[in-house]
Symmetry: C2
Subunit: 493 residues, 2 copies
Amino acid sequence: MFETAELGQKVSKEAFNERETKLRTALLVAQQELKGADFPVIVLFGGVDGAGKSATAQVLNEWMDPRWITTRAFGEPTQEERERPRYWRFWRELPPRGSIGILLSAWYSQPLLDHVNGGKLDALDSGLDEIEFFESQLAADGALIVKFWMHLGKNAQKKRFKKLEKNVHESWRVTEVDWEHWRRYNDFVAAAERILSRTSTGEAPWHIVEGADARYRSLRVGELLLAALRDRLARPAAPASRPAPSVVAELSSAAEGPSILTGLDLSKKLEDTRYKQELRRWRARLNLAHRKAREKGISTLAVFEGWDAAGKGGAIRRIVSALDVSAARVYPFAAPTDEERAHHYLWRFWRHVPRAGDVALFDRSWYGRVLVERVEGFARKDEWERAYAEINHFERQLAEHGIVLVKCWVHLSPEEQLRRFHEREQTPHKHWKLTDEDWRNRENWDAYEAAVHDMVERTSTGLAPWTLVEGNDKYFTRIKVMKTLTERLEKVV
Amino acid sequence: MFETAELGQKVSKEAFNERETKLRTALLVAQQELKGADFPVIVLFGGVDGAGKSATAQVLNEWMDPRWITTRAFGEPTQEERERPRYWRFWRELPPRGSIGILLSAWYSQPLLDHVNGGKLDALDSGLDEIEFFESQLAADGALIVKFWMHLGKNAQKKRFKKLEKNVHESWRVTEVDWEHWRRYNDFVAAAERILSRTSTGEAPWHIVEGADARYRSLRVGELLLAALRDRLARPAAPASRPAPSVVAELSSAAEGPSILTGLDLSKKLEDTRYKQELRRWRARLNLAHRKAREKGISTLAVFEGWDAAGKGGAIRRIVSALDVSAARVYPFAAPTDEERAHHYLWRFWRHVPRAGDVALFDRSWYGRVLVERVEGFARKDEWERAYAEINHFERQLAEHGIVLVKCWVHLSPEEQLRRFHEREQTPHKHWKLTDEDWRNRENWDAYEAAVHDMVERTSTGLAPWTLVEGNDKYFTRIKVMKTLTERLEKVV
């Protein structure tokens, strides 16, 4: 696979100067056009040590306007990073639309190192599955992903290290680890072959670049990047999402029968005295379970979805009252901020993944993608359809990191909702809770119900099950939600 | 000072229930109104251990809508926090406008503990100066700051600890440190008296609340908060900033004479060959200095301001080319995002204070407040006038943390600017660099020059001096900027 990158390609100084001038100008122009475009560019460098990964990243920074480029290398994860799933730190560093993010090694370095250090092939393959999914999800969102594998033959690498070591300004670049890796060159190259052949996809291809000659590799990377940028900029923008003319027509056939919500017994109730007893009981148990979880560094992420006026807020308030306030945080998700809008839709939820021991309570969540965005046509059909897999993948990462993930849908009958709307209208200090949107959403009840059905069917997994909560009685709702959360926590502490 | 908080005040269950219902409703209504207001609310709890700081924070979360409240306690700083100035973590947690942030102990805990543990009175006083400045700066920006000092007499505290220890669900709240502090109760109270009398200001008053009885203290805190909220909501909003009708009239008298820029010798030049030599030389020195700084964990923050087309971007690019890309980051500051706009104007710069060893290059900065915002009237006169002190204070915190702070103003003559504008017009790939705004700014040259003069005069300090860079010759500019940065770094590594 790497033979073509061991040919000893070189570019003379004169040829370089000529091509460089043109290339820089063209890159600057393309970068300028990119600023107004609706996609981000991810430039990833992988490859052999000493083959010029960071030197080339530096050249790109010099050639283009570095104000619209972020460049990140990933060393050992920090404490804050270790407390979150592995991809958290990569999500944090993804560039917003209109800009370029240069990432050094990034998500490729761990699978490679693990494998060379004796990891099983299965583990490598599952690491690569992860990468494939991650990249294809970014690409589907519009990201242009260009990956450069910087290569050196074994002898060329040795020569390179020796040369660097002789230069007083550069010798720091060569470490004992580099020599150690060099001695195991063949293992690395074998693993790299597997990685490249698995992860070079149409939407995120690898370009193998011979790294021995700085002039050659700089031009090659620059020209490949330019071609990719131009190609992408010339492509027509993705069709904007638009309100679906007929929402129900787009719903899955599964939803045509009775929905999963039909089976719920909405007559469930708790009497006042019983409620107070239960509340005391579950508060104490939840408090204890959370204190134990905190000691063990186990985090919790609880998602609350439900009809307008179903009582999510009240349930969240009761949970907060049981927890140490300094470790619990409520995140209400309404319209995204402009910073959030410039990223993949999951980015703003990744931002708030709780640190070890903390509890994050999400009032609405990433499920907006397959609920309101689907029904109102804010997301295109292909977008919300692929969201189920993206969401399952995201949740698996949370669960595998040991985060307790609880998801509640609070259901109520349309009649009870209407009663509560009227109550809100008539109670001065509840007025604000009722908006025109609530009335509009109500008109789309059937479409929403079908969307909820599909959501539960497709995203209720062993690691992250949905709990459907009977919401006609507020007392019952609150206790069931607390009980669900508490019992999930008690299982792991 | 605390006598009135040792009276043994109590509220009966019946009285509590009655007052609670009214209070909750009123708090919810006020909170609702707050959501549309243009100021944040900071509720700070300090006081004696066991007097109900976090319990009361919890009650407030229960009474109001916790979705619009964030509650933070501050334990030992994390690694990421230790790598920044002490107030960094407090700035991060400040609530945006329209919401409530409840902070436990926060910036009060370290001065108190340091003092009780034998710190000098001078140190305490300077810590309190810091606090006063910080709070008054937030208040000037509109924040409503309400501070509660939860108090218990020595015997009441002992009783409280004993009682908690007996309760199986609560015993974890009492630690050995708590008992240790109890034994030194008198020291704590003496220090607290000094702290409260110094930091109870008109804009951020302390309320001393007797903490022995949970019902009493909850109602008292709730009612005080409600009164403060209502009072503030009833006050007319601050007058909006408006374009100054006559900018020059508002300029300081100092600027009426020749400006500080007049003295610069804009004929300074570097020949092509000499430039290339110097560039190589300073790149190597800067690279070495930064590597040493990185090893020592010293961060650098370099601010670039200057006229449009003065060559800031080109200078930044040359600096980036000398640094390890993974440790250097360029931040271009244009209009703030909506998230940033919801905070104090310094918040978005605090966000990007570099971690240990990193270099942050700010293309424009907090000086926008006293330049464009002043000249264009985006900030009111009282806002930009107090900004000089705020900026000096901010920079002092950076410098005292050991951050190397470099500030460059790149100056050029109006004639040279015009020449460059025309050049940009005529060079296709530079077109985008020239905007209508550039032409508009040019018309206000005198007003900007006066603002620059005032800025340098008031913010060039020993810890954070301004470097004025002669910018008519791009080569000269780049080398002077690199030299300035390098020499500053070399002094500390």
